[in-house]
């Protein structure tokens, strides 16, 4: 146990290493592909001197490695991801603007996945082969195979256009004075702006649901099978026979080991979330990071792209580490192995 911090540190370091390599690969990509992004962003009417000047400012006239190192220095020293050619502002500023909203969306959906995935999985495992189980399984199957944007369409049609219980999309803006994290609902909550909170939630609801349904379904499937093959295990039988009450057996002796596989899958689900967020944010006009990423990616905005991939990588790595910690927490075998 005591050497857990070391383990985390190792994981972090490794993650950082991978991300550095990745960013370098992307960088070299951008440099080798034809077309001059600077000229592109300014258009043909701008004089060559100006373009050259900006190329120089952005290190595009230096060798790849120099540019990369300079950029890296900026990132490490003062979190400066370079300047976006298309929003004409510091990429870091854009990230600060857009990332929190996406994080909020992702968290919201992640919670939905965890809660409902586990819940449904447990129910159908406990009532195995009952109509309940079967219907859950059927639904989860449909859920797994339906792409998130399909959900989005159906929900838009249903809840936004016909019943009009939810807005079509967008997100209320955060009054600057209460901006702490940049997550609208969260900030509204901690500053007690409940009207805004309600509004934010109402805007989060459909995107989050369409984003998470597929994962919920998958999570449920995994958790179900995990529980079912644990039910057959000797230690459950033993727990019963030495007189542990049913309630405790299920909630503790059965739940805890079943969480191990389903938590592992949960890690993958988070990744899926970040990916799918692209379409969802586009469809719900959710002013989030994915939408921004899409823009810079299409714009071939050099620093933008690198920053975007890097940020995704970071979020990804962090979530993975958290998952691993969770598993280690649950499973002494893992924990002992890592601390050996």
């Amino acid at each position: 146990m005591q050497s857990m911090p070391v383990f985390i540190l190792k994981r972090l370091l490794y993650g950082v290493l991978v991300l550095l390599m990745l960013s370098f690969v992307i960088f070299s990509f951008i440099r080798i592909i034809p077309g001059d992004p600077v000229r592109m962003s300014l258009g043909p009417t701008v004089s060559e001197e100006v373009v050259q000047k900006i190329r120089h400012e952005l290190y595009f006239d230096r060798p790849l490695v120099v540019q990369y190192v300079h950029w890296l220095g900026g990132v490490i020293l003062h979190g400066d991801f370079g300047q976006s050619l298309f929003t004409k502002r510091a990429v870091s500023a854009d990230i600060a603007e857009f990332l929190p909203r996406t994080i909020e969306l992702a968290l919201f959906s992640a919670i939905l996945i965890l809660v409902f995935g586990i819940l449904l999985g447990t129910i159908s495992a406990l009532f195995r082969d009952s109509w309940l189980d079967n219907s859950v399984r059927l639904l989860s199957y449909l859920g797994v195979v339906t792409p998130s944007y399909a959900f989005a369409i159906f929900f838009l049609l249903g809840f936004a256009y016909y019943w009009k219980v939810f807005p079509l999309g967008g997100m209320p803006t955060l009054p600057p004075e209460i901006r702490t994290t940049g997550m609208v609902a969260f900030d509204a909550l901690i500053h007690g702006r409940f009207a805004l909170l309600g509004n934010a939630l109402v805007h989060l609801f459909l995107p989050a649901v369409s984003l998470s349904l597929g994962s919920i379904a998958y999570q449920a499937r995994i958790h179900r099978s995990a529980m079912i093959d644990n039910i057959g295990k000797d230690y459950i039988a033993f727990a019963y026979v030495v007189g542990v009450p049913r309630r405790i057996v299920i909630l503790k002796h059965l739940m805890k080991p079943s969480f191990i596989p389903s938590l592992t899958i949960f890690g993958l689900q988070v990744a899926a979330l970040l990916g799918n967020a692209f379409l969802i944010e586009v469809m719900f006009r959710y002013p989030g990071f994915s939408q921004y990423s899409l823009r810079v990616i299409m714009a071939k905005d050099p620093y933008g792209i690198v920053a975007v991939t890097l940020v995704f990588g970071i979020v990804f790595a962090i979530s993975n580490i958290l998952i691993d910690l969770g598993i280690a927490r649950l499973d002494p075998r893992v924990r002992l192995r890592t601390t050996e």
Binding site: P44, S47, L168, N199, L201, F205
Partner: protein, 529 residues
């Protein structure tokens, strides 16, 4: 979950009420296809940027709502030397910037110098033409040109006057020597103008919020909206919903026909039509086979079914040449090309590629997102098929589209695009479309690089006398259309903003659109009901 939903909705409605109460005064809620990237008028050429800029800033001269000819604005009067190289402007007194300080000649000089120094946006009007700017006294400023420049006055519509002191007070370190970043950082999200409105809140990709500037020097009527919120709404479904539910009063004018029809069907919703200084081109690459052959190009021009295309954009007038008719220097006597397959086949027969058409399929590239453009290109492809020309359609996202235009070998045979004159003279669009120095941009896929044309253009632009200039312009148009046929001119672009006629009145709605599209969105002239 339904209960949760309804609960949330209650909160939402409550909040809306709250919002309205808080704002107070009249509010005009409008949409734009994209928020500006910056509020810095010196660096932008985009429609959306200027729709905002005309409200934030003042200009030496202001385009008349009749024919876009220059009228006094910040400058009460001006005179030009006989060699038409020295322009002297006398400024009005007591013009207040938004921070209360007065607008003087210093600010004008500063704005011009800054624009040239930065060299982005519309700076190319002035770089290498404006040799220097002199401040004679607080209310007199003199521009010294290095060569005569005919359209000089009208290009001043793009010189927004910045508050020098304010900008200098907000310099960050940058690459403009002792000017640091020349206030670019500050102007990303603040205005430094004297215009009828001031920017109070700007969230990029989200919305811009303008507030009425009460002591605007020309005065501003009570009925003009106190607050204007321009929200970025691209997608049609949302626009329809919000218009229907009255969440917005004025939708941007770039809706598709299906959307417009749906909107027009709603009650209290009118659709204004604003002709732009812009034309829809099929730009034929004159350097790539087979479109490098003039007969081939003419064949294509004859094979295009213009009426079918106008049917996709109903109400847009047919364009015969590259110049929109409302521009100074438009050649009335152009005949252009008509849909005539026989003529098309004759022309095609003259082209060296006539008998090996299938060896030369042509790529037609257009910008993803607007269904009508797609239909246009599908129509075009269908037409070309009629004379045996094979077409590959290439839909590209805006920026990838631009990427391809950068170099000759990546740019396609044909692109479909609207090209926009940046000042109300034929020269503007002729230069943009066909000058050798504007190749490599999305506005010119022709890669014309024709020395004859270049020299004509230079001559025209440096001709001070209006009539002479107009003459040259019309010669050029004939040369382009009749001899070279580098593009197929389909129709004149018309903005069609839908708006709630029960909420406000505006000139464009009354059938008096301003000839320069952006200037229709100067909210000073709006009248809330």
């Amino acid at each position: 979950m339904k209960r949760l939903a309804t609960m949330l909705v209650l909160c939402l409605t409550f909040l809306m009420v709250l919002g309205v109460v808080c704002l107070g005064g009249t509010t005009l809620r409008t949409t734009i296809t994209a928020t500006p990237e910056t509020l810095d008028p010196a660096t932008v050429i985009g429609e959306n940027d200027w729709k905002v800029a005309v409200n934030l800033y003042d200009f030496l001269v202001y385009p008349s709502s009749e024919d876009a000819s220059p009228e006094p604005s910040v400058a009460s009067s001006w005179e030009v030397s006989d060699d038409s190289l020295t322009w002297t402007f006398h400024l009005n007194k007591g013009i207040k910037f938004h921070d209360g300080s007065e607008l003087t000649a210093e600010d004008v000089k500063f704005s011009m110098d800054r624009m040239i120094a930065i060299g982005e946006g519309y700076a190319y009007f002035f770089t290498e033409r404006v040799a220097e700017t002199e401040v004679v006294d607080d209310y007199t400023v003199v521009f010294k040109l290095s060569e005569p420049f005919g359209p000089f006055l009208v290009t001043l519509y793009r010189l927004a006057i910045l508050n020098k002191d304010l900008v200098l007070a907000n310099l960050a370190d940058g690459t403009y020597g002792d000017h640091g970043d020349y206030g670019r950082g500050y102007l990303l999200s603040h205005d430094a103008g004297s215009g009828p409105y001031t920017a109070v809140d700007f969230q990029i990709r989200n919305y811009v919020k303008l507030a009425k500037f009460s002591d605007y020097w020309q005065g501003i009527s009570e009925s003009a909206p106190d607050t204007v919120i321009a929200t970025e709404v691209r997608d049609a479904a949302t626009t329809k919903m919000m218009m229907g539910s009255g969440e917005i009063d004025l939708a941007h004018g770039r809706q598709e026909m299906t959307t417009l029809n749906a909107l027009a069907a709603m009650d209290d919703i009118a659709v204004a039509s604003i002709p732009e200084m812009s034309i829809n081109f099929f730009m034929l690459n004159t350097k790539k086979p087979p479109t490098d052959d003039v007969h081939f190009r003419k064949a294509m021009a004859y094979a295009t079914d213009y009426d079918a295309m106008l049917a996709i954009y109903p109400g847009s007038p047919r364009a015969l040449g590259p110049v929109p008719p409302q521009l100074f220097g438009y050649a009335e006597d152009l005949t252009g090309y008509q849909y005539d397959l026989d003529l098309a086949r004759q022309e095609l027969a003259l082209s060296p590629y006539a008998d090996e058409l299938d060896r030369y399929p042509i790529d037609v590239s257009y910008i993803q997102g607007n269904g009508d453009t797609a239909k246009l290109c599908l129509q075009f492809a269908a037409n070309m098929a009629q004379i045996g020309i094979k077409v590959n359609l290439v839909e590209a996202p805006w920026v990838l589209f631009c990427n391809k235009e950068e170099s000759l070998d990546t740019s396609p045979h044909v692109t479909n695009l609207f090209a926009n004159a940046s000042y109300p003279e034929a020269g503007a669009i002729l230069e943009l479309k066909y000058a050798s120095w504007t190749v490599g941009g999305w506005n010119q896929n022709e890669w014309l690089q024709d020395s004859v044309f270049d020299s004509m253009l230079t001559e025209a632009l440096t001709t001070a006398d209006a009539d002479a200039r107009s003459q040259l312009y019309s010669q050029m148009q004939h040369y382009i259309v009749d001899d070279l046929c580098p593009s197929i001119y389909t129709f004149l672009s018309v903005l069609r903003p839908a708006y709630r006629s029960d909420v406000f009145r505006w000139p464009a709605g009354e059938g008096h659109p301003h000839p320069i599209a952006e200037f229709n969105f100067n909210y000073r002239f709006f009248e809330m009901l």
